[in-house]
């Protein structure tokens, strides 16, 4: 038998440095795309219920989750990858269920307190991610006082920012809806913060994010269908969906954009851990602010004090996120991650060499993973669906600054291109 490098053998310092930098880059790209995903939802007005909005978004997410992996690596790669650690299918489905409930809560939150305020509130999920990362996956162990200070100081700064924004929400939102909006946003944060437990488990075990996400989507679509039918009733839901044909495109586009951001977030979680990757991707709060204020003119009727609270809170949160991001893992800490990876591998009987390859961001067993006819069919089908929906779409009478929208979109595309190239060159999307 060929010699297998033990999972807990330290990886080369140069490789570790490159992977950490890649994870940070993915985190920033994730922030841009996760933030941008909320923008199309702002174009949706009228009587459609939050549950139905979330369901339609999840349809878009479902299409993206299957077509993007098919385009990048092919479904045969996903099949082979999942076969190495099939128990993670269950974890992926569970995470998908959590995502669906959290996303529905965010729709309520946006309606009640607005995008600019709801965003940072659910972004407190990073505090929870740090906690779970430390408690369950050895993150920040043997990290040294500097990194602890960066992470804890950053976390406190983020908490302060979130609190400032919660205060702002009480003056911005209508009547008694503010409390509902704040509760919905915070609950979404708890769900999204805990959702990283299955993620981290999968990536420590060596699974490719592209693989986990394809199964994740069954959980989210299944949960959303059950929620929508039980809350709205089949008949009412169907009428709502038929009546919403003009806005289907915007909502599903939101879901599609979100998946791109989420994919980058997965790679960030894989390479820098959830204690750093989640705060980094939470820079989506800044992008949310940019879309909300520059493109959709949110807070236009607010006074200077309201602006000061929202901007001040956002800056505090960003400073916190950056401090955490700069506290990247040392070699000693990374060995502790590898201990956790070894534990997971042993617990579920996963091959050591598979776990090791995942840690190093390398291909396991190589081999050809060519795209098949099925992959091209998936990609073409999704493009056709979106083209058809775009033809049916109508632009609601919303005051939008298209110049700003184009500028922000260009910045997002630049990050997308850069990050895809980096991922391909360094890991071949492994």
């Amino acid at each position: 038998m060929a010699s297998v490098i033990a999972v807990r053998t330290p990886i080369l310092a140069s490789r570790l440095k490159i992977l950490q930098a890649l994870g940070v880059f993915c985190g920033f790209a994730a922030g841009a795309w996760l933030g941008g995903a909320e923008a199309p939802i702002k174009l949706v007005q009228g009587v459609i219920s939050p549950i139905t909005i979330s369901l339609i978004m999840v349809f878009g997410v479902f299409l993206a989750r299957w077509s993007i992996p098919a385009l990048i690596r092919g479904t045969s790669f996903v099949r082979k990858d999942v076969a190495k650690a099939p128990h993670l299918v269950v974890w992926g489905v569970l995470a998908g269920c959590m995502w669906a409930v959290a996303n529905t809560l965010t729709i309520y939150a946006i309606q009640d307190v607005g995008l600019s305020i709801a965003f940072p509130l659910w972004n407190t999920n990073s505090l929870l991610a740090i906690f779970w990362g430390f408690l369950l996956f050895n993150e920040l162990r043997h990290a040294g006082w500097r990194r602890w200070t960066g992470v804890i100081g950053g976390a406190l700064s983020m908490f302060g920012g979130a609190a400032l924004l919660a205060v702002a929400s009480s003056t911005h939102a209508l009547g008694g809806r503010a409390t509902h909006g704040v509760v919905a946003a915070l609950a979404a944060g708890v769900l999204w913060g805990t959702m990283y437990v299955p993620y981290r488990k999968a990536y420590l075990t060596g699974m490719n994010p592209l693989s986990l996400l394809t199964f994740f989507t069954f959980g989210e679509l299944g949960t959303m269908i059950v929620l929508a039918i039980s809350y709205r009733g089949t008949k009412a839901l169907w009428h709502e969906l038929v009546g919403a044909h003009g806005i289907l495109f915007w909502l599903m586009l939101g879901g599609f954009i979100w998946v791109i951001g989420d994919l980058f977030q997965q790679y960030a979680a894989k390479y820098v851990g959830i204690s750093r990757g989640v705060p980094l991707s939470n820079t989506n709060q800044l992008w949310g602010l940019l879309w909300g204020i520059l493109v959709f003119h949110e807070l236009r009727r607010g006074g200077h004090a309201l602006y000061a609270e929202v901007i001040g809170g956002s800056i505090l949160m960003t400073i916190g996120a950056v401090a955490i991001a700069l506290s990247s893992a040392t070699k000693q800490e990374h060995v502790r991650w590898q201990d956790a990876a070894e534990r997971e591998g042993k617990k579920y009987g996963v091959e050591q060499s598979y776990v090791r390859a995942g840690i190093e961001g390398k291909e396991f067993e190589g081999g050809e993973n060519r795209r098949t006819l099925l992959d091209w069919f998936l990609v073409a089908g999704v493009i056709a669906v979106f083209l058809a929906l775009a033809c049916m779409a109508r632009l609601p009478p919303v005051d939008v600054s298209w110049g700003w929208a184009a500028a922000i979109t260009l910045a997002m595309m630049t990050l997308l291109g850069g990050c895809m190239i980096a991922l391909w060159r360094i890991t071949r999307f492994n």
């Binding site: 549950i51 999942v82 076969a83 190495k84 099939p86 128990h87 993670l88 299918v89 269950v90 974890w91 569970l94 995470a95 269920c97 959590m98 409930v101 959290a102 529905t104 809560l105 309520y108 779970w132 369950l136 509902h180 509760v183 919905a184 609950a187 979404a188 708890v190 769900l191 805990t194 959702m195 437990v197 299955p198 488990k201 929620l227 809350y231 617990k347 579920y348 009987g349 996963v350 091959e351």
Partner: protein, 42 residues
């Protein structure tokens, strides 16, 4: 040697291993709590 198929994910031994993993119960309980909050806000 592990069998390489998806059915393994939902086989009894696999599900027992997952159920004995305390990590699994944390997200599951949070999910149930989230559903409760959603139900109350609806």
């Amino acid at each position: 040697m592990k069998k390489e198929n998806y059915a393994n994910a939902f086989s009894v031994p696999s599900l027992i291993t997952i159920a004995r993993d305390v990590h699994f119960w944390i997200p599951l309980l949070v999910l149930l709590a989230g559903l409760l909050v959603l139900h109350m806000l609806r």
